[in-house]
Symmetry: C2
Subunit: 239 residues, 2 copies
DNA sequence: TAGATTGTTAATCGATTAACAATC
DNA sequence: TAGATTGTTAATCGATTAACAATC
C-alpha cells in the first residue's frame, strides 16, 4: 500500500479516492462549513490544525469533527492533527470543486446580477457560462463578463455547451417551465431561487431549492422567542 | 375554559398564547416550510387540511406533521383536521409575522436591491425602512421606494427609528464593523449575507448568517456522488 | 521513548415514526 | 352513532458525545 504523506500534503502514487458511501445527511450538510473554515486557515498560512483547535474556532465538539472527517477516510494523522492544505483539498474534492461544472444563470435581474458579479461560482470551481433573460432590452448586454442571451436560445445553448448546472433567478411562475427546458437539454443540477419547491420527478435532475426567506423567518422566530422570555415574566409562582 | 373555534377560524375570548418553551431546533427549522405550504393552500382557498393530505403534498410523514404542530399547542381538531387559515395564522404568529419588525438594508448593491425589490420582507411582516451605502453616488437615490442614506447616518437612523433588524449585504470586510454599529444602536437581529460567520458575543443580538454558497456546494456534492455511483462501476467482485 | 492526537467503539441524547386511544 | 383524524405515548432510528486504544 502506498503511503500518502498527509503531513506535507504531498502524495504517494495512489491517493485513496474519497469514499461517499452511506454518509449521513447531517455530515454532508456540514461539509461546506468545514470548507469555509479550512479555506480561511489556508489563507492565513496555517499548515496544520488539530480537531481540538478547530473545535474551538468552529464551536462544535472535537469529537464531531473527527467523526465527520472519518466518514470519508482517514484524513488526519495521530499525534499530528490534520494538514490544512490536504484536508481542504479532500473536502473540495468531495464538494465537487474540481469537477469543473458549467453553469448558466437564467434571470438577469438584481439577484442574477448579484450572483454572477460575486465570487460565488469561481470560489467553488463552478464555471459561469452565460446569462439568460426574456427581456429583449437585456439581451446582448454583458454583466460581469457574461453575455445575456434570450431564453429562447436556452435549450440549444445548454446542449451545445454541455451545461451541467442551471441557476434559476426567474419569477416564480416562470421557474417550472425554464427548469423543464434545461432538464431536457441535459442539465443535471438546478439551483432554484424562486420561492417555491421545484420538482422534476420525471427527469434525472438534482434540484436544490434555495429559500432565502426561511432564514429571515428563523431570525424573527428567535427574536420573538427572546422577547417572550424576557418581557413580562410574572415570576410569581408555579413554573 | 373558553373554547376556540379552530374550525371556523374564529376565536373565543382568549386564544391560548402559542407556547415556545423547549421546542426542538428541528421543529423550528421546519416552520417556515409549513408557512409556505399553508400560504399556498390559503391562496387556493382551501379551508381545511388533514395531516395525511398535507403529508402527501409536503412529502413528510403525517406523524411528523402532527408531532410538530403539537409542540406549540393543539392546532387541529380530531375528526376534522386543521383549519388552514387558523393554522397559517398560528404559524405566522410563531414566526413573528405580526411582530411588525422594522429593518434596514446596508449595502445597496445588486443583492441589496434584489432583496428590497422582492416581496421578501413584506410577505413576512417585516417593514423595510431604509437602504444604506458608503457610495456617495448612491446616496439620495431611491430603490423600490426606499431611500439610500450614507452609512455614517446608520447609527442615528437606527436609534431614532427603532430599527429591529439589520440586513447586511456589504462586502466581507465591512460586515463586522457595520454589525457592531447596528448592535450599539439597539438593533436586535442581524441577517448577514457576507460570506463569513459574524459573531457578536458582547452584544445582545441574534445573528443569522446566510450562506447562499453552501447550497450550491451541496448541489455539487450530490451531482458528483450521483456520477460516482453510475459511472465506471466495476461490477466485478467484492463490494 | 513520551506526548499528542487521531480513529473508532460504546453510551447518550434527540428526532422520527408507528400505533392507538381520545374525541370531534 | 360511526367515521375520521388528531393528540400523545412508546418504539425505532439516527446523530452526537465521551472515552480510550491505536499510532504517529
Amino acid at each position: 500500500m502506498e503511503r500518502i504523506d498527509k503531513v506535507n500534503g504531498t502524495f504517494g502514487r495512489r491517493a485513496p479516492a474519497v469514499s461517499r458511501d452511506s454518509v449521513s445527511p447531517a455530515v454532508i450538510k456540514r461539509l461546506p462549513r468545514y470548507h469555509r473554515y479550512l479555506g480561511e486557515l489556508l489563507r492565513n498560512d496555517r499548515l496544520r490544525i488539530s480537531s481540538s483547535e478547530l473545535s474551538r474556532i468552529m464551536r462544535v465538539t472535537a469529537s464531531q469533527i473527527r467523526q465527520d472527517l472519518n466518514c470519508f477516510g482517514g484524513f488526519g494523522q495521530q499525534g499530528y492533527g490534520y494538514n490544512v492544505k490536504y484536508l481542504y483539498g479532500k473536502i473540495s474534492e468531495l464538494l465537487g470543486v474540481s469537477a469543473g461544472y458549467r453553469a448558466v444563470i437564467v434571470g438577469a435581474g438584481n439577484l442574477g446580477k448579484a450572483l454572477v458579479s460575486s465570487h460565488m461560482f469561481e470560489r467553488r470551481g463552478v464555471i459561469r457560462s452565460a446569462l439568460f433573460d426574456i427581456d429583449e432590452e437585456l439581451v446582448g448586454k454583458t454583466f460581469s463578463d457574461l453575455k445575456v442571451y434570450h431564453v429562447d436560445e436556452l435549450e440549444n445553448y445548454c446542449r451545445e455547451n454541455r451545461i451541467d448546472i442551471g441557476v434559476l433567478t426567474v419569477p416564480r411562475d416562470a421557474a417550472a417551465g425554464v427548469a423543464e427546458t434545461m432538464a431536457k437539454a441535459g442539465v443535471r443540477g438546478i439551483w432554484n431561487f424562486a420561492n417555491m419547491e421545484l420538482r422534476l420527478d420525471e427527469y434525472d435532475v438534482i434540484v436544490q431549492n434555495m429559500h432565502i426567506g426561511d432564514s429571515l423567518m428563523t431570525l424573527c422566530y428567535e427574536m420573538v422567542s427572546k422577547e417572550d422570555k424576557h418581557e413580562a415574566r410574572p415570576e410569581v409562582e408555579g413554573k
